[in-house]
């Protein structure tokens, strides 16, 4: 399986994501922001960082990068896409995921490990997890405070589209939401960084629980 990782100016988790892809035994594919295609990727990770310096709003400029056009087609045709941290912000700005990520309520950059519960295994990125399973994952963000209007939040809950939920909310996120998926369930955005816990040398391999899921699922 080929898993693409997008690289924008200012991405800083791209190498970690490419390494994590190797760790699950898949073939990592670098997708430069100026690329016009996904180089045959079977799944795509939009990694964390500060794409385009977070100018205007996090993700606002990245969503118009060249590589986003084929990525949007891929996502709309059911291809598995995972946005992590800034990647989640990019996918929300691109309207591939509902809602938006606001400034943390504490007005501080939060960088620590948090516990988060996998709320649904019915996505290609959580298919190998048990619903209710609690993972300890790093977060590192300034804008991780998930916002959606009350009707959208109710719909996300009713449709089992909250993918990850914080046990201790680090940023003021609505309903303690750490991750959501789109209507088709193939596009997932999460604030915690599974790629940063993809090797015991980094202290834990718990992130592989999420990343390995995509190997089983193929397209949904």
């Amino acid at each position: 399986m080929r898993i693409g990782v997008t690289i924008f100016p200012g991405s800083n988790c791209d190498r970690d994501a490419l390494y994590a892809v190797e760790r699950i035994g898949a073939e990592p594919v670098e997708l430069w922001h100026a690329d016009a295609d996904l180089k045959g990727s079977d799944a795509v990770i939009v990694p964390g960082g500060f794409s385009y310096g977070d100018y205007l709003r996090p993700g606002a400029i990245a969503r118009f990068a060249n590589v986003m056009a084929p990525l949007e087609d891929f996502a709309r045709s059911g291809g598995p896409v995972l946005g992590v941290c800034n990647g989640f912000q990019v996918l929300a700005e691109a309207h591939l995921l509902p809602g938006a990520l606001l400034r943390n309520t504490g007005m501080r950059f939060v960088c620590r490990r948090v516990r988060a519960r996998v709320e649904t295994a019915s996505t290609p990125w959580t298919a190998s997890c048990e619903p209710g399973e609690v993972l300890t994952l790093p977060v590192a963000h300034n804008e991780g405070n998930y916002f959606a209007d009350p009707a959208t939040l109710a719909r996300l809950e009713d449709e089992d589209r909250v993918v990850l939920r914080y046990l201790e909310n680090p940023n003021g996120s609505a309903n303690d939401i750490a991750g959501v998926c789109n209507e088709g369930r193939n596009v997932v955005g999460i604030m915690p960084h599974p790629e940063r816990v993809s090797d015991e040398a980094l202290g834990s391999e718990e992130g592989l629980r999420i990343l390995r899921s995509v190997l089983a699922g193929a397209r949904v």
């Binding site: 700005e93 606001l102 400034r103 916002f147 959606a148």
Partner: protein, 78 residues
Amino acid sequence: MADSLKIRILVRPKAGILDPQGEAVRSALPALGFGGVGTVHVGRLIEMEVESTDEVDAMCRRLLANPTIEEYEWEVVG
């Protein structure tokens, strides 16, 4: 540009949206001895020169503001 128009766009958090930046400013002002400050909202001011204002709304909707969380208004200033 020969006949350019100067426009000023104001982008701010929608009413009712939590505004942590505004809240931080609101709580900082009394600490400096400034009293009587109620609600504070922090937005973004964008100034640009354009040949025509035809597409300003489209620019705001697609890029300059995020309609999920922000509202905008603009005016010609010169």
